[in-house]
């Protein structure tokens, strides 16, 4: 935080480009903070690549160069492997409202946040940016259809194990090479939220979009621990209120964004959009069981306890409906 002419500047970084969900979060946060502090606080937003990549942002937050950052679990999990919990397939509910309820209220998530705090990342909220969906060149309805399909995923061992469990051939590749890789047939498929598929034009070079709701792309609004603890009570309260408001706002925003972008894809291309039936999803759920052990092995007792608790809480929520 820099103070100049009585105006304090806070820095927030995020991992997306203009118009993404994180960008909306950061800009809305900026707007409300500047408004409610009557201009005594200014917020500077740094998008992906401007001062570093997503992993750099995690270090910036830990060391205090950034005051706030929006990070996805894949970026922070190289220091806090427990954050990978969200990449377990068929763990989160298949309804976005339920996911939001869990992210807001789960005790397991509160314990996850304690671990993050020990690593100098103060998590204010988790929010969903949409389900991860598959784009492919062949119709995929059962794990069998995945056999031998070269699907580009992130490098994480858990994600790789998940797609291996379906019989696919997960092929890590730099994000910027994916479009050409799909176009030239070096890979057959990739996985990302709808808004990113539209943003990267992947629909131009694929035949199918498969909506399977196996896992969702979530992100956390975090702050540097020393910074947030140094704020006076009023400012701290303002920050917490603003983040809570923006987190609610962003849920509707991402829902609309993913919907409009899916509509746009439908409009400009003849890509086929397939929604898996509950029976088909069950086949994938059964196949995914073995991968969860990869997560369990990568985290200690606390991580396993958090997963147990999270599974139980989700079951409880679904049962209550």
């Amino acid at each position: 935080e820099i103070v100049d002419d009585g105006v304090t500047t806070w820095r927030i970084g995020h991992e997306e480009v203009v118009g993404g969900v994180m960008d909306e979060f950061a800009l809305e946060f900026k707007r409300l903070i500047e408004e409610r502090s009557n201009g005594s606080i200014e917020v500077e937003v740094y998008r992906t690549g401007e001062i570093g990549n997503h992993v750099d942002h995690v270090e910036f937050i830990q060391e205090g160069l950034l005051n706030f950052a929006i990070v996805n679990p894949g970026s922070s999990s190289t220091t806090v492997p427990e954050n990978n919990i969200f990449y377990n397939h068929f763990l989160l509910p298949s309804d976005e409202e339920d996911i939001k309820t869990m992210l807001d209220e789960s005790q397991a998530i509160k314990r996850l946040n304690e671990i993050n705090r020990e690593h100098d990342m103060n998590v204010h909220s988790w929010f969903v940016e949409g389900f991860n969906v598959w784009t492919t060149n062949k119709e995929i309805r059962t794990p069998k259809d995945f056999s031998g399909v070269k699907i580009r995923t992130m490098q994480s061992p858990l994600i790789i194990a998940s797609y291996r469990a379906y019989g696919a051939n997960p092929t890590p590749m730099p994000y910027m090479e994916v479009y050409s890789g799909l176009q030239l047939g070096q890979i057959d498929a990739q996985v990302n939220p709808v808004f990113a598929i539209e943003e990267m034009s992947f629909y131009e070079v694929q035949r199918y979009i498969i909506l399977s709701n196996q896992d969702a792309f979530v992100a956390a609004m975090v702050s540097n621990v020393d910074f947030i603890d140094s704020l006076d009570a009023t400012t701290r309260q303002m920050v917490e209120e603003v983040i809570a408001e923006v987190t609610d706002h962003i849920f509707e925003f991402q829902r609309n964004l993913n919907k409009t972008r899916l509509d746009k894809i439908r409009e400009v291309s003849d890509i086929k959009i397939i929604e898996l039936t509950d029976e088909e999803r069950e086949l994938f759920r059964d196949a995914s069981v073995s991968a969860r052990q990869v997560f369990r092995n990568s985290v200690g007792t606390r991580g396993n306890e958090i997963l147990d608790l999270f599974e139980a809480e989700i079951q409880e929520l679904l049962d209550s409906k």
């Binding site: 001062i51 050409s180 030239l184």
Partner: protein, 424 residues
């Protein structure tokens, strides 16, 4: 702040310091003087992640393959073949170099790889044919830039991501301007060869051509393997570079036996050193641009220059100048990341086709790679040909003039880029 940054950069450079020192010292000075709250340790973070980029692997691979080919016979056989056909044409070898760079750029997507893979074998031939050295390096590094306009192109993908333009449309729109530059270079080389009295070889007989063709059959497997491999999806452009290493090894060591297997480590050593010399500058450049970006310098300057409600022409002009200047000092991708969000809003508001803007941006990024002081093509040429910086950039003026002409044409005639997209 800008003054300190630029003056340290230029003064140390002129004092004949290694460029890496200029590029390390200027951002460090700015952090220490103007940003006391920032720990300079993050310059290291930026330098490490700046070279920790998978696609950069293509560069040492192409250097390695070119080193093996040039040590052995592959390059000679291929170029003998080409010369039998165009040796009697005025400026033929120069034109061939430009065309080969364009062609190779369509494969590799990297201007540096093009400098190495085409430039290295062509250099000796051009000297032998009577070309002046200053003309050779400027020809090679300028032609290599066409690679950015011919798909695939990382710069275009990055712009598409930042602005939401379709990647395919952008790829297709780059072809027109790319070929236009090639035509400019070809015409220039024809007249320059005439003016400089570059001798032409007597026209080869068909028997000679056939003989050269036979000798070149195996080496011609190179383009076949690289293009075939990429377009059948067997490998990525980065992996194609490694495939060309393997093919060069098979040809030279196993078939022609012109390179001994015990020579391979020392060839690899020289490739490794050249890679390091160039990549240290890439790394230092990341630290340099990090400071500029952190201090929000581009945003501050652009806001005041653009003003409120700018006209379409003014925006295109400002964009051209900004990217041109930006790419003089900083890596192209970084410039796009920083500047694209600033300009895209006003541009669309003024009725500019974002595709048109994208091609202008790509063109300026391409020009940036040969515009001193910071230019990856220049660094690569210095390291690969073992020439001083001044020698490499000495003959650039005519090419810069042609680039400026094409830039102006691009502002006033968007159809140069857009006409190809109409066929879809």
């Amino acid at each position: 702040m800008v003054l300190l940054l630029m003056s340290i950069l230029v003064i140390f450079m002129l004092l004949s310091f290694p460029l890496k020192v200029s590029l390390l010292l200027s951002p460090l000075a700015v952090v220490l003087v103007f940003m006391p709250e920032i720990d300079p340790v993050f310059l290291v973070q930026q330098m490490v992640s700046g070279v920790e980029v998978f696609v950069l692997l293509a560069v040492p691979m192409f250097i390695f393959a070119a080193d093996i080919m040039c040590t052995g016979q592959t390059a000679d056989r291929l170029l003998d073949f080409v010369e039998r056909f165009i040796g009697h044409v005025r400026g033929g070898l120069g034109i061939t170099t430009a065309a080969a760079c364009t062609f190779f750029g369509a494969i590799s997507g990297s201007t540096q790889a093009t400098v190495v893979a085409i430039g290295k074998p062509m250099q000796k031939r051009l000297i032998k044919a009577g070309y002046a050295e200053k003309d050779i390096y400027s020809l090679i590094i300028s032609s290599a830039n066409i690679a950015l306009l011919i798909p695939p192109s990382v710069v275009m993908i990055m712009y598409a991501v930042m602005t939401g333009v379709s990647v395919s449309d952008l790829f297709i729109a780059g072809i027109g301007p790319g070929l236009l530059i090639l035509v400019f270079f070809a015409v220039y080389n024809f007249f320059a060869a005439k003016k400089n009295n570059i001798p032409v070889a007597p026209k080869a007989t068909w028997a000679e051509r056939l003989h050269a063709f036979k000798r070149a059959i195996l080496p011609m497997g190179f383009p076949a393997i690289i293009i075939g491999g990429i377009y059948t999806g067997l490998f990525s452009p980065t992996e194609a570079a490694a495939a060309s290493v393997l093919y060069a090894f098979i040809l030279e060591v196993l078939i022609f036996k012109s390179v001994k297997i015990k020579d391979i480590p020392s060839i690899a050593l020289s490739s490794g050193m050249v890679t390091s010399v160039v990549f240290v500058l890439v790394a230092a450049g990341m630290g340099f641009s990090w400071v500029i970006s952190l201090a929000r310098i581009p945003q501050m300057i652009s806001a005041s220059i653009l003003g409120t409600d700018p006209s379409a022409l003014w925006i295109l002009f400002v964009v051209t100048i900004f990217y041109f200047i930006g790419c003089m000092f900083v890596d192209q991708l970084v410039v796009i990341i920083i500047l694209a969000p600033i300009f895209i809003g006003p541009a669309i508001a003024a009725g500019i086709d974002p595709l048109h803007l994208g091609i202008i941006v790509t063109l300026q990024s391409a020009i940036g790679a040969v515009t001193p002081p910071f230019g990856c093509n220049i660094f690569t040429a210095c390291a690969v040909f073992d020439k001083s910086y001044s020698q490499v950039v000495k003959g650039l003026a005519p090419y810069m003039i042609m680039f400026v002409i094409v830039s102006i044409l691009m502002i006033f005639f968007p159809e140069i880029a857009l006409f190809t997209t109409r066929f879809l």
